[in-house]
Subunit: 305 residues, 4 copies
């Protein structure tokens, strides 16, 4: 198990079948520093174009279509003492007539205290002088190349992952992606120091991060959608518009998961989901929205096989 | 402040302008026993028609259009040792082609242990023999009469509340409804012993409950949507289809709330919401879906005025 | 077969179970003059409150739940030489960010030439001096009382009809509504001198009309949604949000219709619909949108039974 | 102006930046034969993979990002005496609970009479023995490469066109696409002999066609969405899910078009659209739905500039 220090020198605005920037073995760890969503690095220097420039792709030896790529998010360390957000709710998250009274979508600056692990608006905004947010880092955009030679903008998400903007994808969490091309071709970037549900101003606190991930091939998992796990939960991720369809994808995936891996029949899976499921909204801003269907592991029967 | 013991002897399947069953003063407490969603009482006797028969309406003296009716959920005590659910995911929460493989929407029975405050499937379902759910009671359907002489089925929800099926409406929570008619005309029923997010099998654990609520008029609040509060959070409730629109309603309402009651400008309200907001899905089953926009009180500036 | 001249002296803003204003026999004709959507009569006098004040209800003797009320629109004669519209696209029909650049929702006046049967903006609007619209009258809002004691605002629509704003409901067309209460309780109003698809400025050309309709009970039809017919087509109407669900309702209803009344199996009904169906969008402005699924009669097999 | 006979020998399942198969000058005409949606050629031989294999890409000299590619559909001649469809409504176009009673999604065969220009089910389906459909050919999937190196499956559609499945894209119609890469990179395929609105069985009558198109670069048009024109109408095309968003895109594009090219102010554009616009549903089956916003040319003011 090798640890690779991967210093990207070019970045991508799509997840697609592109020449690998790094090749690793299954089980290897990668440490890499990401640009912020606008392409600015740890020194505030613009290094790449918007939106959400990606490090990668990383070719994982042995990954083939039908496998899953397991991504353990080992560590996220902020690399810059500033971050930025947008200063207005996005037009699509309020009632249409209310859009007329939204403020301009200006950029706002946040000061990140790397010692205290907090963020504050800088300069302060009247009424929010008290607001000191603890850092809750997350990877906004990561995933693998889609099938058939498709290539998707890093502004959006799909079965292959991408710009899901889910708070749950932080240190300690594990993600799985359905591998669609040889080597999986893993991309990551767009890290947030904090973010509310839905990314409803169109950003989290956007900044540069050093990220450590462990990449492992799991053979023949035949996933359809991204999945995840943390100390408390397992979860399925649906990416689509509208929210109703994203929720259908995530719910269907969890329904299949409980039947295939936990030995439940369809009625038992329904019973369990009906009474214990939790939904999170990853983002409701990007072209595809993200809904997460989540179950605490304490409710699960033993895993089969 | 009087406590009224209200024994309903007729029930309603709409929230509308109907003759009051009880008249109370602002600040009074009402203790009443509700039927389950199918109209069955504490003894399992069918007393009223589906869906979701309501106790009420309760006329609150002094309530006028433009006021808010504050409803403190003081206590919910299960009144029956059995509950029921449906045994299949609802067709609208899975991918359309998956509907072909859903199980039948049979009724399943749960045994409620009133001492231990738990519920188990009875008879057990293979694979879920271990599943012992703690009771987390909630009011599925409550609210006030809508304006203009409208009357809405207790299967759905709107600005006036109704069948929101939100887990957050349990003991210790407070709800506010926009008063649209003199006396507010408050209805309640359809209590659940537990329920997952979204009510995705179309039911929680449906049973009879004794509910204690305190009803208080707050003058001139001019609410548009139901709101709520508990020890940790304040929240706005949007009821509509699709989820996207329910979320727009809830988000818009929170945006207004922060500006009107907490003295934030639109940019400050956007900043706060963007980084700390949480969304819950009440139900994604009824004709109108319910989305809740929630903020922890620790993030709020001091309340104005 | 009697013809009733019905002069309304009160109007309603809901479709619900209200005291009949007129009782007629099945097969009778009613001639009545409607107010415009804002409650103004033929002389421009405000007679009733917004939205969409209704004439009625009309009790049709013999109509029982499970029957259909057939409404033949015999004639619509404009009763006023002026109409009005809104001067801006509705906020919900454009991309959310575009709302910021919409014009104000001012009221605009149209001059109706009763001889020429045309309408022009008055005063003229720069760039549209050439625009002379032929009158294409339609009933914006009509239907019957819903079931269970429900009562719905005339701003919206549902299984019982209501504010569907479909161009196809003009002279020569026949509509059927599912009867939910004894006597059906028929309401009508909100006539338009012309309207584009979707009612995307939130109005057609709103004016007062004299309307002649023939009301006939058809026993035991067991409709779920409104249906219609004209010289060329049969059509099913779905009312819901979003458009996707309105379309599902209309499509499902046509699918049932072809099987039940035209003797087609589900595969044959699918084949026919797949290759010849047409969709119209009634309105995409009201709380519930309206989608129409339409088939030219020349493609239909002979009607059964 | 050259006419190119282009015999494809490889096909693509994405619209993306791929090596050109043919290079033409602006104004040139291309005659090419397309495979059906399943990859079968004029002889029924499988030549390429599903879905919707494309001929192309065709590099049009002089086309640059910001230009429009004008595509005149000069002629479509059926190349095979058979076509196929699916025998069931798609699960997503009916009410979710109705999916349980849909027939299997079998393939059905149609016999195409090249002389009479008609199509009939073969073998006949009971109840539809009378059904003889006139051919109304259309291009199901065509468009240009998207920007940023993206590549989209031919199952879906976006700003660059793609699988729009709109009946209006037949002989005599002109389409415009926003050019995003040098040479535009034009693709086409998936022709239908006939199709109802919405492509609600998931197919039109799928067959091989010889298509003649004229490709012309229009400099600096700065389109966002595809547009079209025929003898009667101009129209804007929105591709997205849900229908509500596709409609917003098409409506916004028409609103911009009337202001930029026809000299109308926003209120005048609203007035015209509000009273004369027509909506068509291209498809309501693919991952992105297609809604068309259409205006008869007789209502338009003179074109500016």
């Amino acid at each position: 198990m090798t640890t690779h220090r991967f210093a990207a020198d070019r970045w991508h605005n799509v997840l697609g079948t592109l020449p690998p920037a790094l090749t690793v073995a299954s089980g290897d760890t990668v440490v890499t520093e990401t640009l912020d969503a606008g392409g600015f690095d740890r020194d505030g220097v613009k290094r790449a174009a918007e939106p959400n420039p990606m490090n990668g792709p990383i070719f994982v030896v042995g990954a083939e279509p039908g496998d899953a790529l397991k991504v353990e998010i080992v560590r996220m360390t902020p690399a810059r003492a500033t971050g930025w957000t947008r200063a207005s709710l996005a037009a699509n998250v309020v009632d249409p007539e209310t859009v007329r009274s939204l403020p301009p979508r200006d950029k706002a600056n946040w000061r990140i205290d790397l010692q205290a692990s907090t963020a504050v608006l800088d300069p302060p905004v009247p009424g929010l002088e008290h607001l000191v947010l603890p850092l809750e880092p997350m990877i906004g955009c990561f995933g693998v190349a889609p099938d058939m030679g498709q290539a998707f903008s890093t502004a959006t998400s799909a079965e292959n992952g991408g710009n899901m903007d889910y708070r749950g994808f932080g240190p300690g969490a594990t993600a799985w992606f359905p591998v669609a091309v040889p080597g999986a071709l893993f991309f990551l970037g767009d890290c947030h120091a904090a973010q509310g549900d839905g990314e409803i101003v169109g950003t989290g606190i956007e900044t540069a991060y050093e990220v450590e991930v462990r990449l492992t091939v799991e053979k023949g998992r035949r996933l359809v959608w991204p999945r995840g796990e943390n100390a408390r939960d397992i979860f399925s991720v649906g990416n689509a518009r509208p929210l109703d369809q994203a929720l259908q994808h995530a719910t269907t995936d969890m329904f299949e998961w409980l039947q295939n891996d936990y030995g439940l029949g369809p009625a038992a899976a329904s019973h369990l989901m009906g009474q214990v499921v939790r939904y999170d909204i990853g983002n409701v801003f990007d072209p595809a929205y993200t809904v997460v269907c989540r179950i605490e592991k304490k409710w699960l029967p033993p895993r089969q096989g």
